[in-house]
């Protein structure tokens, strides 16, 4: 029974402050980049795993694109895309992103090292990261309208951080 309770602890403590794991990914120009260097000056970030062959991923990034300017203004959030396209479609990623007019910060994970470290089963998989670089919320899949839940999770991060700083003062 103790083991059962411990395993429940493990399962239900899922969103309680796990740091973004360190993995080696690439920028769109092919430079090696370590995920520990993700930064938004202490403001929240969204990490979105996607691929050029994944329709719901593109729908999600399109839907966010329509509201991204407002999101940034309201919460200061930054969206980081991580493409899991492999060598076959990897070279399409940069022109594809520009062809959509997206204004995110973009990376490549062609052999799935970061995908594995983040326990992503299938795309799209979205994470909300708080100002301390901790994973506080995640969601798999996209249906039109789900972006509201995502920005709500970002707003909650800001609320909690505000409450914590007021408490500290």
């Amino acid at each position: 029974m103790i083991i059962f309770c411990l395993s429940l602890n493990v399962l239900y403590a899922q969103d309680a402050g796990r740091k973004v794991p360190t993995a080696s990914i690439k920028t769109l120009t092919g430079e090696v980049f370590s995920t520990e260097n993700f930064s938004n000056d202490g403001k929240p970030m969204i990490i979105d795993f996607w691929a050029t062959w994944c329709k719901p991923c593109i729908e999600e990034l399109n839907a966010i694109h329509e509201e991204y300017v407002d999101w940034k203004e309201e919460t200061g959030v930054k969206l980081i895309t991580v493409s899991i396209d492999d060598a076959r479609t990897m070279t399409r990623v940069a022109p594809f992103i520009n062809g959509k007019g997206w204004e995110y910060e973009n990376y490549l994970d062609p052999n799935g090292d970061f995908k594995r470290a983040m326990n992503v089963n299938m795309p799209p998989h979205t994470f909300v990261i708080n100002g301390k670089g901790e994973i506080v919320w995640q969601h798999v899949g996209f249906t039109e309208g789900s972006q509201e839940e995502l920005i709500e999770a970002v707003r909650n991060v800001l609320k909690e951080e505000k409450a914590a700083s007021e408490k500290a003062n």
């Binding site: 403590a13 899922q14 062959w53 062809g99 249906t143 039109e144």
Partner: protein, 548 residues
């Protein structure tokens, strides 16, 4: 030996996790799992055989423990028994993937299982594609080291995974990548960036053949270069492999070569991409006698678009390792809102063309000369063969029509050489025209309707198809979808079959459960917001995934 290692990983995991769990509320262990279970009905019409077990399932769970610079992980997999479409050698359960890793930023050491890719993978790529049942992870040691800023060196030794065991052949490999701008201060601010790389892979497999004198050590080397300047980019990789007689190439002693080229230009709102490749006798495996998808050391990417609409993906292309030349060109446009072509909400347009065909081969006649080494054929590097393997021309338009309605259009022309691509003789070559219309309608912020209508017109193979998909989603948790793929044009009237599937799914954060019933064709299947690869079937399918 293997069991001892797994036990050691388990012991470390359990002994370190327990106190950590008690000490704090943050879980030190993370992972994910997926379980697919399928209940089968015999369907002689689509050739689905009777499954004696009735119910088959595939499942896996990853567990990873991270503390500081140290991490340990394992994956438990079970195939009870493997779902149809998966290799029957997966039968059973076990822990085929487990590792211990130390990473302090400049140095990373892995003992156990790992995945790896050098350059674009044309001489080494160990990776997994769980949905396809593909996993060629290497079991052994790997070291990655950054000796100076901008330089990454990797070295590895191990044996590749083969289902629940490892291959007989041994793989030894090293790679060096040099980012010139990062390591030379004088280049740091330069607008033009250069990255160079080189790799070497050697495999060893004992020659036990009573007839042939086979090379036991086979080496392959590759060099690559990549340049970025402003919006311009170009990269190239060339690989050479010494003679490697194998079941895949008909045991010829010819060497192998591969060349990949990509260049293009991109700026906000526009992208242009051109690619070319030449592959000649580049199949490279841990076991020379293996065929199919098992134990490949390298990865030869297809230079074609990866379509997701089911009829556009009906005839997908795969690289021919024994020889092909390929070309691809693609243009992307984003017409801004307010412009003539953009309309009120803007328009995305992409045009793509790709083609793969044979390399020129002049066969070497060794009949009457039994002592001659069989090199198989000669081939001029820039000479193309006549036979076309694949050709795809497509245009896609994505447009938001109003606040509530969005539209996606695809037209595609396809030329598919079924005999070559599927490796079966006397199959027809398919010439097809495909059209897709997708409409999404927002009822309100949470309720959405989506429909897809596809049509594939061809006189070949199974002739024409039509598809209708209807989907209703209630964000962010629920969706329900119905999908009918109808082979209405089949010359054989009895084969004019409706492949009807109904799916309902529920998602909460990273937990997702879907239930489906119906006939399903093999391929990439996207519904309810997620894409996955599924085998052909008739019956009930339940899928549960979770990350924690």
């Amino acid at each position: 030996m293997k069991r001892t290692f797994t036990q050691a990983v388990l012991f470390i995991l359990i002994s370190t996790i327990t106190p950590a769990v008690v000490a704090q509320n943050t879980s030190p262990i993370h992972g994910n799992f997926q379980l697919d279970a399928q209940y089968y009905f015999k369907d002689s019409l689509i050739g689905a055989p009777e499954v004696p077990q009735k119910l088959l399932s595939n499942g896996f769970a990853n567990f990873e423990y991270v503390k500081g610079d140290f991490s340990a992980g394992l994956r438990y997999e079970s195939y009870l028994d493997p779902i149809l479409g998966y290799d029957s050698r997966y039968q059973g359960s076990g822990i085929p993937y487990r590792y211990l890793k130390y990473n302090n930023g400049d140095l990373e050491v892995t003992a156990g299982s790992f995945y790896e890719q050098f350059g674009s993978g044309i001489i080494l790529r160990a990776y997994e594609e769980r949905g396809l049942g593909y996993d060629n992870a290497i079991d052994g040691f790997r070291v990655k080291y950054i000796p100076v800023r901008g330089v990454t060196v990797k070295g590895l030794i191990g044996r590749q995974r083969s289902f629940f065991s490892t291959a007989e052949g041994l793989v030894r490999a090293a790679d060096l990548e040099w980012n010139i701008n990062e390591s030379c201060d004088s280049m740091a601010g330069n607008k033009t960036q250069w990255i160079l790389g080189g790799s070497f892979v050697s495999k060893y497999q004992k020659d036990q053949d009573p007839v042939f004198n086979l090379p036991e050590n086979v080496g392959a080397g590759a060099g690559r270069i990549s340049m970025n300047s402003g919006g311009w980019f170009a990269n190239a990789e060339y690989a050479y492999k010494i003679n490697d007689p194998s079941g895949g190439n008909g045991y010829i002693y010819k060497d192998g070569q591969a060349l990949l080229l990509n260049f293009g230009y991109t700026k906000k709102g526009f992208g242009a991409l051109f690619g070319a490749k030449r592959i000649d006798n580049m199949g490279f495996r841990s076991d020379r006698d293996t065929t199919g998808t098992n134990l490949m050391i390298n990865y030869l990417p297809a230079l074609t678009k990866n379509h997701t609409y089911s009829l556009a993906a009906l005839y997908p292309y795969a690289t021919q390792p024994n020889g092909e030349v390929g070309l691809q060109g693609e243009l992307f446009f984003n017409f801004k809102s307010g412009s003539t072509l953009g309309g009120k909400y803007g328009t995305d347009l992409s045009v793509n063309y790709s083609r793969a065909q044979a390399i020129e081969k002049t066969l070497i006649d060794t009949v009457g000369n039994p002592d001659a080494i069989d090199l198989g054929y000669t081939s001029g590097f820039l000479k193309f063969g006549k036979e076309v393997y694949f050709e795809d021309f497509n245009i896609e338009i994505n447009k938001k029509l109003s606040k509530k309605l969005r539209m996606h259009l695809l037209y595609m022309y396809l030329h598919y050489n079924k005999s070559v691509v599927e490796g079966r003789s006397s199959e027809p070559t398919v010439y097809a025209h495909i059209g897709v219309l997708e409409l999404g309608y927002k009822l309100n912020s949470k309720n959405n309707l989506r429909t897809e209508i596809h049509h594939l017109y061809t006189k070949h193979d199974k002739q024409s198809w039509a598809v209708l998909l209807l989907e209703y989603s209630l964000a962010p948790h629920w969706f329900i979808a119905g999908f009918d793929q109808y082979n209405y044009g089949n010359n054989d009237v009895d084969q004019r079959i409706h492949y009807i599937t109904g799916t309902v799914g529920y998602t909460r954060k990273t937990n997702r459960i879907t239930l489906g019933y119906g006939r399903q064709r093999a391929g990439i299947f996207c519904v309810g917001g997620v894409c996955r690869t599924v085998p052909a079937s008739n019956g009930f399918l339940m899928s549960i995934t979770s990350s924690f």
